[in-house]
Amino acid sequence: MRRIRRFFSSAPKYLLWIVLSTMFWMWIFTIVTDTSAEKKVTLFADVPALADPQLAGALEESMPEGIRMVKAHSFSYLMFDDLSLNAADIYIVKSQDIVKYAQYFQPADQDWAKAKADTLQPSEDIIYAIDGVPYGVKVYDADTGEGAAKGFVMYVETASGAVSSGSAADDNAADSMEPVLTDYYLCFGINSIHCGLRDTAAYDIADAYLALP
């Protein structure tokens, strides 16, 4: 009894230590695993599922000079913070969202886009252009199911997890279980500092992304 009482009397200081040390090491890891915008390329993907550390690790294998880190996040990572979203270098977005979020994207380099159109599978919509200006390169084709970095990114989502029991109401649910098929494009952030003439790191990472199995 005395031991139990003694344990509970000293429990607050152990709990306080656990909370403080956890916060401290989380802060340290945030510092250790991050760097300034000049030295990193950030990729945001609006996809159902993403193996972000593995994708970032794979992209880091072909890091251009001057870049120390690649960060990859899904949009769900953002929560209520859109500052990091605005500062991203590369976006993977659904084709129908490109026009909607056009103000977040900058036109891709014409030569780079042309080179991609020539080297990638030839199809009419490999380059997404608005008024003749290239904005994105297709990374997933919903019709063929072909896509880049499929080992790290899940492009196909099921709208609902409902189980059908055969009733009329469930027919709609069964319909909603059909996978939502949509094309995905790779676009460049309007505020990216790696899409210039001198710093082309975002294009290098985009090339690496397109080459991933």
């Binding site: 005395r2 956890t22 090491w25 989380m26 250790v32 550390p53 690790g57 960060k71």
Partner: protein, 183 residues
């Protein structure tokens, strides 16, 4: 024949100092080990394993830190407080109190000092002086006196209740003599 038993034998102070030193070294080594482990985990972290390393680091730091706190509070502080308590008992006037000694239930943890237990010493009068109050102030001198004893030293006492002469300094028992029941 009465035999005086010392609760704080010769060399107790140097033994405590040595104990404090050893536990301080052990605690510091444990803290250093936890810190080195956490720094190593930080150094080994890369983009792919960062989340796992962070979880392990938090676990090592949390559990290791708790172990260090436990070592410090139970061993280092314990022996350091005992040594300080021993300092207050040295070179002071010793008083004696005799009677039937019983132990009060419960421990008293003195803030920043040792944990003590309380002994009640009920004085015994000879049959011919029974009923006579010796105290000129009129207070009942037959009332039980209270003596504190370090909780760690209780195991050195004979089974209680017993007839003892307790030698005290500042109200703390430092030695005792057992009375023969035939006395």
């Amino acid at each position: 024949m009465k035999q005086k038993v010392e609760l704080y034998p010769e060399g107790e102070k140097s033994r405590l100092k040595r104990k404090t030193k050893v536990w301080t070294i052990i605690t510091a080594a444990a803290a250093a080990l936890v810190l080195v482990c956490c720094i190593t985990l930080c150094a080994l972290a890369d983009t792919v394993n960062a989340a796992r390393m962070e979880r392990i680091c938090c676990l090592v730091s949390g559990a290791g830190g708790c172990a260090v706190i436990f070592l410090y509070t139970h061993f280092v502080l314990g022996s350091r407080r005992m040594a300080r308590h021993l300092d207050t008992l040295q070179d002071e006037e010793i008083q004696a109190v005799s009677g039937r000694v019983t132990m009060a239930p419960g421990r008293i943890a003195i803030s920043g000092s040792i944990t003590v237990r309380t002994l009640h010493v009920a004085p015994e009068k000879s049959p011919e002086r029974a009923g006579v109050n010796d105290d000129p102030t009129g207070k009942d001198s037959s009332a039980a006196k209270r003596v504190s004893i370090s909780a760690e030293k209780v195991r050195l006492l004979p089974p209680l209740p017993a007839r003892l002469t307790l030698y005290t300094v500042h109200g703390y028992a430092v030695s005792y003599e057992v009375h023969d029941e035939t006395d």
